[in-house]
Symmetry: C2
Subunit: 254 residues, 2 copies
């Protein structure tokens, strides 16, 4: 290479580019984590496994035939892909294996149904779950009759089992969110949907998980651009929304 | 939201998370840009259009039916998607329209064949091109007989026409790259392939474009992890490689 490799941006900090939110969206919407929760990423060891789990927001159109780690086809285009690509780049020496096993339409009980194959068999060291919007949403058209109590109890049972089988697993719990005024989210969602959000936060506290306050993040983001810019239907994020979620995820586990 | 939104990371700088390469990969491989080239992003105006053009590395499996702006399906999973998602997030107030029109297998003359429809019709304010690996690679199996002179002359002609039709367009030229020792790249590539790289850099200088030295970046990255970690076949980047390229792109235009 006929270039001078050492004369540009010699400080480590200058290596940080991109993924910088409009100043304020994340700083205004994310609480400081408990001290013992911070630094999850720096505690990861070489060869560790990270697993993203959830519904369509995590699935994001991934192909489900091969379900490989570190493969873009197996990731879809969502926040899990954006966060994982960043981790694989910035932690290249750690040889991480990162999986996405989110499935569109899933509610908590459906995670439980496939938890052996899609969680325990992969032996994750870090497990990130985002689930709950369908546990509420699918009730609106009468095709599901769960309650917030069922959501919370099923979720708690799943987490208890997870901690039993994987006692050292580090947990990240994402808050279910919705953006009012977009095509799929209307006044009928409230106040009931808020109780699902509250349950996810309660469980994050119970299980000492990192909690990602996606609702506050999307609320704050709407000060910069309309809700539809971040999520067309109020549930599924756009490119901008997925990037914002990935940024929040990375900030939370950093 | 029952959270305190203002007591965490109140400085603007702290909003920057993620996309931070192993300290050194980019600082060691990217030259400082000319002053007049810097700040392309900050010169973008509300409603501006950004276009990514190139071959399979840019295409990255995008669906080509709808070819919408700001749509993950129309972007594929490559560096263009990662960079665009970041821009749409971090510049949400600007209402940018970002397109990917890379097509797998393309050489320069094939860009030229579709330049009216896939460039001029979109009226980009910022045009990013990564082309050249196929102009060399496709010669190896005897299916193409172009030379580096044809590559450079065709490319120059395309850029001249572009500056004529779009005199104010801001240009980014990515260096074609290859990683030796991966499945598709062997000693037969050298030294001839290097001349294609040199031509792309020469043209970037001629047209006052931002030049992204992807070869130096991938060379430097191999100090952190093997070539196959960054690109399985030596041509098409992995998730880690795509993230590294996006990070370099964002740093270059910042």
């Amino acid at each position: 290479m006929n270039i001078n490799r050492r004369d540009f941006f010699s400080t480590a900090a200058a290596g940080t580019v991109g993924l910088a939110a409009i100043p304020g969206i994340l700083s205004a919407s994310m609480l400081p984590g408990k001290k013992k929760q911070k630094g999850i990423l720096s505690s990861l060891k070489t060869g560790d496994v990270i697993l993203f789990q959830g519904d369509s927001i995590t699935d994001a159109g991934r192909e489900k035939e091969k379900q490989q780690s570190n493969s873009p086809w197996s990731f879809g285009y969502g926040y899990a892909y954006l966060a994982a690509a960043n981790l694989l780049n910035t932690r290249s020496a750690q040889n991480l294996s990162i999986y996405n096993r989110g499935i569109s339409g899933n509610k908590v009980y459906q995670l439980a149904d496939r938890w052996q194959k899609d969680c325990f068999d992969l032996k994750p060291n870090l497990l990130s779950i985002l689930i709950g919007v369908n546990d509420f949403w699918h009730k609106l058209d009468g095709k599901y009759d769960g309650t917030v109590e069922k959501y919370e109890n099923d979720y708690r049972q799943l987490l208890n089992l997870t901690k039993k089988i994987l006692p050292d697993v580090k947990l990240v719990i994402g808050e279910p969110f919705a953006v009012l005024g977009c095509s799929a989210v209307n006044e009928k969602w409230y106040p009931e949907f808020d109780s699902y959000r509250a349950s996810s936060k309660k469980l994050a506290n119970e299980f000492d998980a990192i909690f990602i306050p996606y609702q506050a993040i999307f609320d704050e983001a709407q000060k910069q651009a309309p809700g539809k810019y971040w999520t067309g239907d109020g549930v599924h994020p756009s490119m901008a929304g997925s990037s914002l979620m990935a940024e929040a995820w990375l900030k939370a586990v950093k």
